[in-house]
Amino acid sequence: MATDVKLPELGEGVTEGELLKWLVKPGDTVKTDQSIAEIMTDKATVEVPSPMNGVVKELKYKVGEIVKVESVMITLESSGQTTTAPAATKPAASTTTSAPATKAPVSIGATLNVKLPELGEGVSEGELIKWLVKPGDTVKVDQSVAEIMTDKATVEVPSTVAGTVSELMFKVGEIIKVENIILKLSGSGSVASAPAPVQVTQVPVAATSTPAKIPAAGATQAGPILYPPPADFKVLATPSTRRLARELGVDLNGVPGSGLAGRVTRDDVMSAKGPKTSAPQTTHISAPASFPKPAYVSPAGAQEERVPLLGVRKKIAENLQKAKQIIPHFTLMDEADVTQLVGFRESLKEAAEKAGTKVTYMPFVMKALIATIREFPMFNASIDDAAGEIVYKKYFNIGFAADTPNGLLVPVIKQADQKTIMDLSKDIVDLSTRARDGKLKLDEMKHATITVTNIGSVGGTYATPVINHPEVAIFGMYKISDKLVLSPDGKVSVRKVMNFTVTCDHRLIDGAVAARFLKAFINRIQNPGVLMLDMH
């Protein structure tokens, strides 16, 4: 007599699970309560017990398939003991009538799941760069287990629990979403300070609809990362809006309130979260919908390779597309006689070495730039299109383009006006080293007021760089070369010459203004002594 064994209720709100493993095969004899399969739900991994004695006839699912509650998992051929059972109109119930208890303990696999935590505002996923652990390793709480690259930075993911690594759920290069389980630990190790996993719970044996609660143990608890931070007292948002923001990972402290007297509404929170909430199924953070997304159709038989556009590269693509769409660019170019500057820098080499750093031309350019911006504040501004206002910034955060293996990154030197040439040199060395190593913090790439690009150190006479929106200008510096120059009195001499460009947002900066700006800059950079005049 064949009997269908169904997947029992696994817990409140759990409607299905993934079949991880069969613990029996056709032909096996099973006893009542013997585990027949491991099912992973979104809450826990459970072993499904057999409600009766019998011989396995057929397995209805393959490993990896999703099994819904109440669907038939296997067929059992009843063994002798159940022959006394009444007609099998309700096969599962027939055995339970003779079983003394309707519930039996089932062991929830002692598995601890480590999930990818919230990585920052608006970050929903990241690319797995590297595993820092392997199966069999013992992991402590807070130990880094993986490096994940998001579109903003590379972060190390800490384990929220302790245990022994049993399974890595992703391969290097794969995209992991926030809240995905990234690895599994078995908690059997003697871990003193870590929460022990719950071992035992109750699920009904019979394939009835008796609800059973499967407690989610420490395994699924939130990690120690507290994001977003609690809202400041002055933020006006109702308690339910504050909770919504927390659940969506929106930091209320930075959300502009559209409501009366600056109240942050639910809509404000939703839009701060971005399009992700309205379309949770999207795989990637999508670019603003207004951008065209033409397909590239491959010619037949062409030798091509397709890789996903992701991470830093995707972010670069989005940012530059946005900048080009919003900002009407123009670039002005000129050359400067930097003979004096070259000599001046040479004279500083020794002092710099003593201070343990090297001085490049970049800090001088930054200093001259800041002095010039003080004359032309519109170069250190932004346009708030939404408010219809120009925002003049009274601080000088200078971004500089850094070429890294992951692509273009722009580290920012904060309050550069308050730093010495030596400070700037050290910052530049430090930030560019860490940019190359993917160790920049998110905050170190934010809030630039103007950017300098030194593409000339690689090559090229002039370039027309793209402005880093919402800045309104990008300054270019190029290689120094020897040039024969005809002076006004007719003499020919060899001079050190360097090209500079300034690329401007034409909405705010007129051509003539840009020309005066570049001229003023060149006056300074040609006479490094003049720079001294601007020092505090």
């Binding site: 022990a196 407690p215 007297a261």
Partner: protein, 474 residues
């Protein structure tokens, strides 16, 4: 040995609420209680004191207010033993209610005192209990001062004061905080001669709005209590007929005679108990368990809520944290982000507050404030209740009219304050409160009128036009 997903230590308003919510979320929960379920709040604190205060209020009104309504009372006797029985039955009902709720949620109650053995294990008597997560909710206890060791017979903490089986003739109450004043006013109403000894210059100093405190102090004195401010209790001596309490007031010593001495100078957290060190839980030098915004201790799977994790030591704060922590354990992203913990003092009249006092507003950088009061004497319901003392005071940001603080002293202040708490959590402006129709005739109208008063034009009081000749919102 028992194992739980969540072990709660202490069954006060923090612990039992946490246990129930954790059980609702599907956890296997155990709760440990060394005394009665419900903790201090239900058994020797909030609930029994309110029973006695209510009784004394009725007693007092019967003697003073009822004759205006034409009641002619010929002899009114007090059976204090019966009152005590009734008070105990109130606590009993609440405590057994907690027991039922815990049972109904399949929470295992373990009687005894918990001692941590490690971060995952504790003992209760000879029993070992293991937990995946712990919630420490063991509250606080009365502070004892030198020279006044509690014997709970004559030298009483709040616990002993609420268990008195007779009305003592002469009472010296050391400490003019909210507990001391609540007990003093109830004993005074039943006829005790009460002297309140307070080290600071006012009662309820720093705890409530100074103007509110003043109303209560005046009423206490009017009712015949003596208030000694800037007074330090130096010691006590037992004599033939009671005690002599030495008090230093402005440098001069004086002797107060007393039959009972009540010491309510504050409460200290119980962070020195339960061998928290063995679990690796950090405790600060005042005895508070150190927690983060999720009420997580230095051990990630151990949480602390209520009095033991910091001020204000109020039951409703503990309950809020209890729910929060259970949900954090479940994996929900939650933090403690309430804007205000309303506070209530059951003096006569009652004081209640939500949001900030004026000094706190200024400390937070709100320099331009709108502040006004509306008196209960101008409220029809208060007049018809013969309870017209006090006022509703509102403080708002002048620029945005956002409500920053509400301070009520007056009848049913404790029941009126929730509207203010909601308004502050919702970020309400004065106009929001003023334009909400409040039913007549109720005490609640004073909230609406106070908002109007703060805007410059309450209906039921005469207000001078504001300096610019306009009200703030017209």
């Amino acid at each position: 040995m028992q194992k739980f997903d969540v072990v709660v230590i202490g069954s006060g308003p923090g612990g039992y609420v946490a246990a129930i919510r954790a059980a609702q979320l599907g956890f296997k929960v155990g709760i440990i209680e060394k005394e009665a379920l419900g903790g201090v709040c239900l058994n020797v604190g909030c609930i029994p004191s309110k029973a006695l205060i209510t009784a004394s209020h009725h007693w007092h009104r019967a003697h003073h207010d009822f004759k205006n309504m034409g009641f002619i009372l010929k002899g009114l006797d007090l059976d204090f033993k019966k009152l005590l029985e009734w008070k105990n039955s109130v606590s009993g009902k609440m405590s057994s209610g907690v027991a039922q709720l815990l049972k109904g949620n399949q929470v295992t109650v373990i009687k005894g005192e918990a001692q941590f053995k490690s971060a995952t294990e504790l003992t209760v008597g000879s029993e070992t209990i293991q937990g995946t997560n712990f919630i420490v909710a063991t509250g606080s206890r009365p502070i004892q001062i030198p020279g006044f060791t509690f014997d709970e017979v004559d030298i009483l903490s709040s616990t002993g004061a609420l268990a008195l089986d007779h009305v003592p003739k002469r009472v010296v109450a050391i400490g003019g905080g909210y507990i001391g004043l609540e007990i003093s006013s109830y004993l005074r109403k039943f006829g005790s001669e009460v002297t309140v000894v307070e080290a600071q210059s006012t009662v309820l100093a720093g705890v409530v709005d100074p103007e509110c405190a003043q109303v209560v102090a005046r009423k206490l004195e009017k009712n015949g209590a003596q208030l000694l401010m800037n007074a330090k209790a130096k010691g006590q001596k037992k004599t033939k007929d009671g005690y002599e309490v030495t008090v230093e007031v402005d440098g001069k010593e004086q002797i107060l005679k007393a039959d009972k001495i009540i010491v309510t100078v504050g409460r200290r957290p119980n962070g020195d108990q339960m061998n928290l060190k063995a679990a690796g839980i950090q405790v600060d030098d005042r005895g508070f368990v150190v927690v983060d915004a999720q009420r997580r201790t230095s051990q990630k799977h151990i949480f602390a809520i209520g009095d033991i994790c910091g001020q204000p030591m109020l039951a409703h704060k503990a309950s809020h944290e209890g729910v929060l922590v259970a949900e954090v354990i479940k994996g929900h992203n939650r933090v403690y982000d309430a804007k205000t913990v309303p506070a209530v003092v059951f003096t006569d009249p009652e004081i209640a507050s939500a949001g900030m006092m004026e000094s706190e507003c200024r400390a937070k950088g709100y320099n331009d404030l709108l502040i006004s009061k509306f008196p209960f004497a101008a409220n029809g319901r208060a007049v018809s209740m013969q309870e017209t003392e006090g006022f509703v005071k509102m403080i708002a940001d002048k620029k945005t009219h956002i409500l920053l603080g509400v301070h009520i002293v007056g009848p049913e202040a404790s029941n009126l304050i929730s509207e203010a708490a909601l308004a502050i959590e919702m970020g309400a402006r004065l106009e929001d409160v003023a334009l909400t129709i409040h039913p007549h005739p109720t005490l609640g109208e004073t909230m609406m009128e106070a908002a109007e008063a703060t805007l410059g034009h309450a209906i039921h009081i005469i207000q001078k036009p504001l300096t610019n000749g306009k009200s703030a919102h017209l």
